[in-house]
Amino acid sequence: MRSATPTSANTRPWTEAARALYRIGIRPRFRWQELGLLVVVAIALVTGWASLESFRNGRLEIGEAGLLATYVAIVFAIHLAFVVTGRRMDQVLLPTAALLAGISLLLMQRLPQDLVTQEIAGRELSLGPLQLVWIAMGFAILAVVAIFVRSDGWLRRYKYTWAAAGIGLLLLVFLLGEVTGGARLTLRLGPLAGQPSELLKVILVVFLAGYLAENRAILAASSTRLGPLNLPPIPYLLPMLAMWGIALAIVIVQRDLGAALLYFLVFLALLYVATRRASYVVLGLLLFVAGGAVLYGMFPHVQERIDIWIDPFADPQGAGYQIIRAMYAFGRGGILGTGLGAGLPQVGDIPSIPAIHTDFVFAALAEEMGMLGALALLGLYALIAQRGFRIAATAADDFRALLATGLTLVIVIQAAIICGGNLRVVPLTGITLPLISYGGSSMLVNGAVIGLLLALSDRGVEPPPPGTRQNVIRRLGRRARGFGGRVEEAIS
């Protein structure tokens, strides 16, 4: 045992560094749990990579691991940024998201590389590297949001502005969207293309959290009776009916069943959390069933989805082809899976399942990692749910609680909808598996969602010492808020 003196001598450089950081308003804070989990994640990903490369090359080796190394470096850099900035945020969410996105990178590296190619900054990138670009951008947004979002006022105060922006976005897609795969989803602005429905889900959650936090006392009390159902005053019902209408409009105009289902389920869940009234959920589901029945009767694309769901073998080479191929993939996987790289992504030049890198990435994973791997993946989403709800339960006020709940739900419910679609538990709808599916919009938005959750979990940092630069920023911020307030008033 040594005395305390050499120890304090050893920590002197540290304290010096800490003081220097303190002077510029930063208080580093170690995040041991996160570090430990990230090390586990890194080991798991390296093992997966080695397994894939060994299978491909027929001998035990790690192969070209540049992509993986870059990814692991990004994740640890974010961890370091959290440590340096001294955030007291949840320590499980980042490793969970890192494992999900790492699995995504492995899968994209494993699938046929020419499924997607795109030129970025003069270089032609294929599936794996492209996905790394999206993941890097998504995680950058995650880090920026987690570190720099210190106040929720800008979300809380301008809920109607957000709603208007969301509806505007929707209209823009209606008017200018490109049709891909039978659905009008993609919005192209110059060289940039994206799927606004991904962004819309976050905007929706922000609006709902704001609206419900403000009005939940009224919504929870009943004053209108409709048969056996107790309902809130009619004017307060209108936003809900509007929500239902928007979901229907998305189905009809955008042909995006998955997004509509997601929005509506998130909406119902949030409404229940805010009011704890089962009658709303019942009413919502009744509306949903009624709407679904009408849509089924009126629109062939809805009808086709349901019919394939019930009996894909009615048209095995046509409409049912995709889902049958997915069933084969699940069957091939069995309990332990075929092993990474040993599945059957293509026969000849035909990919085994159309859209395997987006809508059917869960089937690809279940084939190669088996039932156990797929269950573990579901477990990761369940872990996100647990962390998110924890953040919600310990939140300072209703808005933050509902926001955290909603953000958690958009990830968890979206994952359930697409996995259920792959598994024929529910009708198949084309949405992405959050943090796994290939795609830029999806990665960016889900990165932002995790980042927001992290920001919400931050248990307060002491305000940094005042400085002139920040005062300038604050002054600008105050002016912006003044402008925003006027816009908000005008809309509401």
């Binding site: 009390a221 805010a274 704890r276 191929r325 069995g334 039932m371 797929a374 579901l378 359930a416």
Partner: protein
């Protein structure tokens, strides 16, 4: 103390409001989250159940679905197993090493059994039934599929050792010549199929030919003699008198008749016919040379329609249907090749399934709406030959995997159709039908020289001017049966004309081959 407690109780009158327990304001968000978590847990459990369903419960069915591209992929990666006959002659093997190997079938006579495996038309016959084992998708070692990913060679193709005797098969084909028909030969004690001939048939080597296959199959489908149909397992024929054995089984096992059952009015009915509800059943005069009521042996020997119509009526519709269903009628037989279900009656008529007594009386000697497959009739013969115990028919004795492991598919009893004693009585009657003084005229040609032989011939009337189907089912040696045959020649005339001598030749050949002389 007691008093003070009573005094504290407040009486609440109906017009008074209940005391408010809940604090004012909406419920706390955190409380609702628990219930929401529960809902999510239920949803995710549904997904987990879906995973278990597809990846455990349905996994092997999906993996072996012929549409599954994995089957194609496995065919590329692993050489397909070889199919052998019972003495080790190759019935199907691979030729051509580069790319996907082609199949070659050295014995064309085995086509209805072996089938084909073509890149264009998929699989048929044993190539279809054992596709997963031949490609090695299903392994013989338990747990192998689970651990496949840890093996260098993921697929473990098996060879099939079949019970087919190519020589007997070829003799059946030669005897049928260019006539349409089928032959089934079974080893009664085990259910092993020795020969399964369907004529006309196809050339599997031309079906699998990548160049000419498409045209060849198109031509086969054009032909009106259906060469792609396996008549032995899927052809449905009127059985005529061979069905009397089923009626006998029904009568004996229900106790409605026994060996000495006679029908008193029978001698007169030779002349006038047996009138059932206005329908006259007749026997051919030449068979009727006895002036007393026949017993079971005599009736079987002379193949009396009148006696069997009586027997069917006294047994009743239910007993006949029950006995038939124990023999496998009404269902697809549990067999490696696809089979058609045989039937005793076509509809669900008011008379216990039959339309009326007339239909039952006619069905009892194999007319009316009775339709059978040759395989089904061979099983009827096999039941009698094997003391009333019906064995499951099967073609494959053994699977030999490329890693050396061997799976033997032993004989499987299917149903005890009737008692050994009753089976012996019927067997004796069938022996008379071949060797007796009257039977000899009808089915004497089926006799294996020097070996006791039992059997029953049939002449299935098709109505109109169509020539009847010529039928025979029988077995030899009658006291220790080694082989059961069922033969049908479409439009071959009376049983004695074609089917009976064919069956005799087949049984003679096989028993000689078996004893090695």
């Amino acid at each position: 103390m007691t008093f003070s407690r009573v005094a504290r109780v407040r009486v609440r009158f109906p017009w008074q409001r209940p005391p408010r327990i809940k604090p004012p304001g909406p419920p706390r968000v955190a409380g609702s989250l628990l219930r929401l978590s529960l809902a999510l847990a239920i949803g995710y459990s549904g997904l987990a159940a879906g995973l278990v369903f597809w990846q455990v419960v349905e996994a092997s069915r999906l993996t072996n679905d012929p549409l599954n591209p994995l089957v194609l992929s496995a065919a590329r990666q692993a050489p397909r197993g070889t199919i052998y006959d019972r003495s080790g002659r190759v019935l199907a093997h691979n030729v051509g090493g580069n790319g996907v190997p082609l199949r070659e079938y050295p014995y064309l006579v085995a086509a209805p059994v072996v089938g084909y495996r073509s890149g264009i038309f998929g699989t048929a016959g044993l190539e279809r039934a054992y596709d997963a084992q031949l490609t090695g998708l299903i392994s013989l070692r338990p747990g192998d599929e689970l651990l496949r990913k840890f093996h260098d060679q993921p697929y473990n193709p098996s060879d099939l050792m079949t019970s087919l005797d190519v020589d007997l098969q070829r003799l059946g084909v030669d005897l049928l010549g260019d006539q349409r028909g089928a032959v089934v030969a079974i080893e009664p004690a085990t259910g092993r199929i020795l020969a399964l001939v369907s004529s006309p048939t196809f050339n599997p080597n031309r079906v699998v030919d990548p160049g000419d296959g498409r045209q060849y199959v198109a031509d086969l489908r054009e032909r009106d003699d259906s060469p792609l149909l396996n008549r032995a397992t899927q052809g449905l024929y009127v059985p005529g008198s061979v069905f009397k054995i089923v009626t006998a089984i029904a009568g004996f096992s229900s106790g409605a008749i026994n060996a000495s059952t006679t029908f008193a009015m029978q001698p007169e009915e030779y002349e006038s016919g047996f009138l059932v509800n206005g329908f006259r059943i007749r026997d051919f005069p030449r068979r009727v040379q006895l002036d007393h009521p026949l017993n079971f042996y005599e009736a079987t020997e002379v193949s009396s329609n009148i006696w069997y119509a009586h027997a069917g009526l006294v047994s009743g519709p239910q007993n006949l249907l029950d006995a038939a269903s124990r023999l496998g009628f009404g269902t697809r037989l549990p067999f490696e090749l696809p089979t058609s279900p045989s039937q005793v009656t076509g509809g669900d008529g008011p008379f216990g399934g039959f339309r009326d007594e007339v239909e039952l009386a006619n069905a009892a000697y194999g007319q009316a709406e009775v339709l059978v497959t040759p395989l089904q009739m061979a099983l009827v013969g096999s039941t009698i030959a094997n003391d009333g115990l019906l064995m499951r028919p099967r073609l494959v004795d053994e699977l030999r995997a490329s890693d050396g492991s061997v799976t033997t598919l032993g004989p499987q009893a299917w149903t005890q159709v009737l008692s050994p004693f009753d089976a012996q009585v019927i067997s004796d009657a069938m022996r008379l039908a071949v060797e007796g003084p009257f039977g000899e005229a009808l089915a004497g040609a089926a006799k294996v020289p020097g070996v006791p032989t039992a059997g029953k011939s049939g002449t299935a009337q098709l109505g109109g001017d169509a020539a009847p189907h010529s039928w025979f089912i029988g077995f030899a040696p009658a006291d220790a049966p080694q082989i059961v045959v069922a033969v049908i020649v479409e439009g071959g005339g009376a049983g004695a004309q074609r089917a009976v001598p064919m069956a005799g030749d087949l049984m003679t050949y096989y028993l000689k081959e078996l004893t090695g002389s």
